[in-house]
Amino acid sequence: MASRPRTHIVVFLAPAVIVYTAVMIWPLFNTLLLALYTTDEAGRHFAGLKNFRTLLGDPNWSRPFWNALGNNIWFFVVHMLVQNPLGVLLAAILSHPRLRFAALYRSAIFIPTVLSFVIVGFAWKLILSPIWGIAPSMLDMVGLKSLFAPWLGKEEYALTTLALISVWQFVGIPMMLIYAALLSIPEEILEAGEIDGLTGWQAFWKIKLPLILPSIGIISILTFVGNFNAFDLIYSAQGALAGPNFSTDLLGTFLYRTFFGFQLQLGDPHMGSAIATAMFVIILIGVCLYLFAIQTRMRRYQF
């Protein structure tokens, strides 16, 4: 075999490697590099870590940065606390072997996930709008009208509301992944548990949950990466200014405003790259934590 000419390996690999390197890895590398440069009257020159000092030290930059980072962390926390438990609950119910209409429920609950952020953002904006009044009149039907507030317009509620809208949209993904993991648990294990007296929710907590932990780990890291470069939903529902008063600003919208510019502010590719680098570091830390700590601990449970 070694005597055969091996140019075909190069031919097979080249297109993918070239496109991937040129459009993904090279720009990624260049973005990290651009963060170390600055442009002034003298043209572009190397500036070392100056952009990062500005980003973290200059109050005009550090305040929006920490604000966006803090919002982003809360955005992620809401997903972890609501989306993933809800996904597990729905999957646990769906995986009941004799449940009727399971496929129907599954397809219906997954529909929001395939809609674009633009649709989701505007649809919820209309529904929650006090002008249209669907939300208050529905609350009125259950006697809770006093609870209504223009949630998207209030600084203290807007971010949580958007996070919950995002949960509503994406709960289908954890549901599907957990559902698949639950179906793959061998019947013998559940029967062995039953002989030992473990049924229903007990069986779920003591047998199934430990076995689906690896899937929950994968979902968590997918949620993490997705949340820390989220942009579309905020942009569709609140605009690039992430109102009210930047209370829904995430790193993605902050990056967009900084490097692309908005209204009167001109885009600054170098500061934008510095923010992108910060996002890169955050995502990298998350992925590494997942790969090293969580994955090694969870492997114990796999069969």
Binding site: R6, I9, V11, F12, L13, P15, A16, V17, V19, Y20, V23, M24, I25, P27, L28, F29, N30, T31, L89, L90, I93, R98, L99, F101, R106, I109, F110, I111, P112, T113, V114, L115, S116, V118, I119, A123, I127, W132, I134, W168, I173, M176, A180, A181, L183, E191, T199, S215, I221, N229, F231, D232, Y235, S236, P269, A276, M279, F280, I283, V287
Partner: protein
């Protein structure tokens, strides 16, 4: 044995929870679609009823058809999505074949290199991507979007497809070699047809994020001629915030193609997600 695990009360509760959540999941879509067929007055006075009798009106759709170039946007979205999927599948399958079939120096390393992009979002490199597209004159072309989406989709495609290609029997390929087939025809004629189901999975996985993306169309191709449906509806709806009929109709027009695609491909998609997770 099974009786211990199920009882009718549990089953009723299960259905109650699922029905409740299904209503929550579908309610916004229902409200948008239903109200897009109503007069302005009916939208506000009875938002939850069906568009019957006096309440029925197509005024919103008429405005949308007159103002927005939705057919062009739709066409752009189709071109970008189909072309990106084609290149992701072709290039991805070729690379996956090289990695899974041949032993060569750097095989592992190449696999790892291509896998990097699974976890790192391509958006991080947007600043340099924009500069590159400006320098090469590709800004405001669909080509720019196709390139970006192809690069974005390749890592996972290579990863999934090489898993499946390892399962293709060696005997088959060696039989082909003995018959004098070139490595290229072994790939195109023997291996590709066998991994078609996994190619469909990869396609369906990539289709939705590409179709729905707002970030790259906004940054790389926001010109009137190159707007995708997602960006087009975003801009259009932004302009008509006060014209509720037009907004609701535009939203419905944006929902429709996705729902149609979903009904066609949902089985494939769900099978893909579930089989991927078991691995």
């Amino acid at each position: 044995m099974n009786r211990a695990r199920h009882n009718p009360l549990n089953s009723a509760a299960s259905h109650a929870v699922l029905i409740l959540y299904t209503i929550i999941a579908l309610f916004p879509v229902f409200v948008i679609l239903v109200n897009s067929f109503k007069t302005r007055r009916a939208i506000f006075s009875e938002p939850l009823t069906l568009p019957t009798g006096d309440a029925f009106s197509l005024i919103g759709y008429q405005t949308v058809m007159k103002q927005g170039d939705f057919f062009l946007y739709f066409q752009n979205s189709v071109i970008v999505t189909v072309a990106s999927l084609f290149f992701i599948l072709l290039f991805g399958a070729m690379a996956a074949f090289a990695l899974s079939e041949y032993r060569f120096r750097g095989n592992m390393l190449m696999g790892l290199y291509l896998a990097l992009g699974i976890m790192i979002p391509i958006r991080i490199g947007t600043v340099a991507i924009l500069q590159m597209m400006v320098a090469s004159g590709l800004v405001n072309t669909l080509t720019a979007l196709i390139l970006v989406y192809t690069a974005q989709g390749l890592p996972l495609a290579v990863f999934i497809l090489s898993e499946f290609m390892r399962q293709v029997s060696d005997d088959l390929k060696n039989a082909g070699r003995i018959d004098g087939m070139s490595e290229y025809s072994i790939f195109f004629k023997l291996v590709l047809p066998l991994v078609r189901p996994s190619m469909a999975t990869v396609a369906v996985f990539n289709m939705i994020p590409i179709w729905n993306d707002l970030w790259f169309p906004l940054i790389l191709a926001s010109g009137e001629k190159t707007k995708t449906l997602t960006l087009g509806s975003q801009v259009f709806i932004g302009q008509f915030v006060t014209d509720w009929n037009a907004v609701l109709s535009a939203l419905s027009l944006a929902i429709l193609p996705v729902l149609v695609l979903y009904t066609i491909f949902s089985r494939q998609l769900i099978r893909g997600i579930t089989s991927g997770a078991v691995k």
